[in-house]
Amino acid sequence: MAEPLDDYIDAVSKALALPVEEAWRPAVRANLEVSLRLARLVDEFALPDETEPAPIFTA
């Protein structure tokens, strides 16, 4: 049975021309689930619209 993220993995794999062999799929999916769970934690945290990102951190 297809997992909920499988269609998404297929679509991004195609968009990025990034191969995902069937044997790797369960581990890729498990890792993506962890990333999305952690990203949700950050996403839930309300920040003002003016907040600057810090892609290059300057201490």
């Binding site: 794999s13 990034l18 990333s35 952690l38 907040t51 951190f57």
Partner: protein
């Protein structure tokens, strides 16, 4: 004067400069010890014996000619194999990078160490592309813990931890993106310095996560850590993130009293998911320093999550083309994590970077009322090699995902940290001495005080 295995860098440099020992003897002693123990520890991937002897002879010639030599004269050191070493391909723990052309020039930090008289004796094992907390490597085999060779060194600078913990060399260099200096320091029972983000040049080292990567030294004493750190400071146009600040030498300051420092223990998140040995180590350090105040770091769990997201996505971006062309040459575990990282939607990465700015402001506020924050370096002592789970308060938790939970929220905003080893039995464990940006001097001062009190020390390797 004969060499002995656990001579510090300061002792070697003093003996060499004072003509009591030659740099060549010091180098040969390190090479002999590497030959004796590396079969078990598996920490070296390259031994640069010929180069090392040539450098040592040059130092001895300078001394014989009455020339001034640097503060690290004749001190053997080694580097994680993501540093460029002239003549070697920079493998960064991977199979793929072995096909790169040999480097033409050493990394900046190697040049600075050698300018101070140190002698490079080799390159060290590491987790593939630094995406690792264990020190295990599918291509080169695991580096092994010098206190119990059935256990992990921690990673990703596993070879650096093993080589210094096993007293094969007094100083090693490594990198720390989410904890890769502090974790091996903790598991291998040595001192490690992750400086402020941007303090030490990363020029000519293989990157992982540009906005989180730091380089720094490991040593068996605080004096050696400060000696190496001071030798490597300074601006470098070859690293776009390297500070233009002037030098801030720390060695002259480390013995200053610490009675004026406001020291607190990190509460909340940093006191959860820890084994009794981590609690004991922080408690010993706090007691020795008279630290009774507990400070909660707000949203540390979210900070760790945001660091994870930035790491997996920037890492994926770095390796995207290799993932397309040579996916079967990666460690499968690293490959599958990176592929998943490439699939995280962009707005979530942007939110992680915005959260980073917010979190940095919170910590800046905290450091207005304290000078030092204490936290565990790892939740436990070194797990067994290959161990998948550990049991904490009746709950099974994955080892790999949890080793770095206390280091990630700190490197996320680039704060300087000295990891100090607390020599518990049967295995050592580290405590993080965390300071405000650019205050490595304070972290080293506190580490030195703990070393003088006998609370922090690098135990003799017990597994050799």
């Amino acid at each position: 004067m004969t060499t002995k295995p656990e001579m510090t860098a300061a002792e070697i440099a003093s003996a060499v400069a004072g003509r009591k020992m030659s740099a060549l003897d010091a180098t040969d002693a390190a090479l002999a010890r590497i030959k004796q123990h590396d079969g078990v520890l598996n920490c070296f991937t390259d031994v640069t014996a010929e180069r090392a002897r040539a450098k040592a002879r040059a130092i001895d010639a300078d001394i014989a000619a009455g020339k001034e030599v640097g503060p690290l004269a004749g001190v053997p050191f080694a580097v994680k194999n993501l540093f460029d070493v002239a003549g070697l391909p920079t493998r960064a723990g991977s199979k793929i990078n072995r096909d790169l052309a040999p480097s033409k020039r050493d990394a900046t930090l190697i040049e600075r160490m050698e300018a101070a008289g140190a002698v490079l004796v080799g390159a060290l094992n590491m987790g593939e592309y630094a995406y690792d907390f264990t020190g295990e490597n599918v291509h080169d085999g695991p580096s092994r813990n010098p206190h119990d060779t059935t256990r992990m060194t921690g990673g990703s600078s596993g070879g650096s931890g093993s080589a210094v913990g096993g007293a094969l060399v007094p100083i090693a260099l490594g990198s720390d993106t989410n904890g890769s200096i502090r974790v091996p320091s903790s598991f291998c029972g040595i001192f490690g310095l992750k400086p402020t983000y941007g303090r030490l040049s990363r020029a000519r080292s293989f990157p992982f996560v540009a906005s989180l990567d730091h380089l720094g030294p490991f040593a068996r004493s605080v004096t050696d850590l400060a000696l190496a750190y001071d030798a490597m400071q300074g601006p470098d146009a070859d690293d776009g993130a390297c500070t233009t600040r002037g030098l801030d030498p720390t060695l002259p300051l480390i013995a200053n009293p610490i009675s004026d420092l406001r020291i607190a223990v990190a509460g909340g998140y940093f006191q959860k998911n820890v084994f009794p040995e981590a609690v004991e180590a922080v408690s010993r350090v706090a007691k020795a320093l008279g630290a009774t105040r507990v400070v909660d770091v707000p949203e540390a769990s979210r900070a760790r999550a945001a660091a994870y997201i930035i790491t997996t996505t920037e890492g994926a971006s770095l390796h995207l083309d290799r993932l397309r062309k040579r996916p079967n040459d990666f460690d499968p575990a690293v490959r599958d994590r990176l592929i998943a990282g490439a699939m995280v939607p962009a707005p979530l990465v942007d939110r992680a970077q915005k959260f980073r700015r917010w979190y940095r402001a919170q910590l800046a506020e905290i450091f207005k009322s304290i000078d030092v924050l204490l936290a565990p370096a790892t939740p436990c002592t070194a797990p067994k090699l290959g161990q998948v789970n550990f049991n904490l308060d009746g709950v099974e938790l994955p080892v790999r995902a949890n080793i770095g939970i206390h280091t990630q929220p700190i490197s996320f905003i680039g704060l300087p940290v000295v990891a100090v080893p607390v020599p518990l039995e049967p295995l050592p464990i580290g405590v993080q001495i965390i300071c405000a940006p650019w205050r490595e001097d304070i972290a080293l001062r506190v580490a030195y005080a703990l070393e003088q009190m006998g609370v922090a020390s690098a135990p003799s390797p017990r597994g050799l």
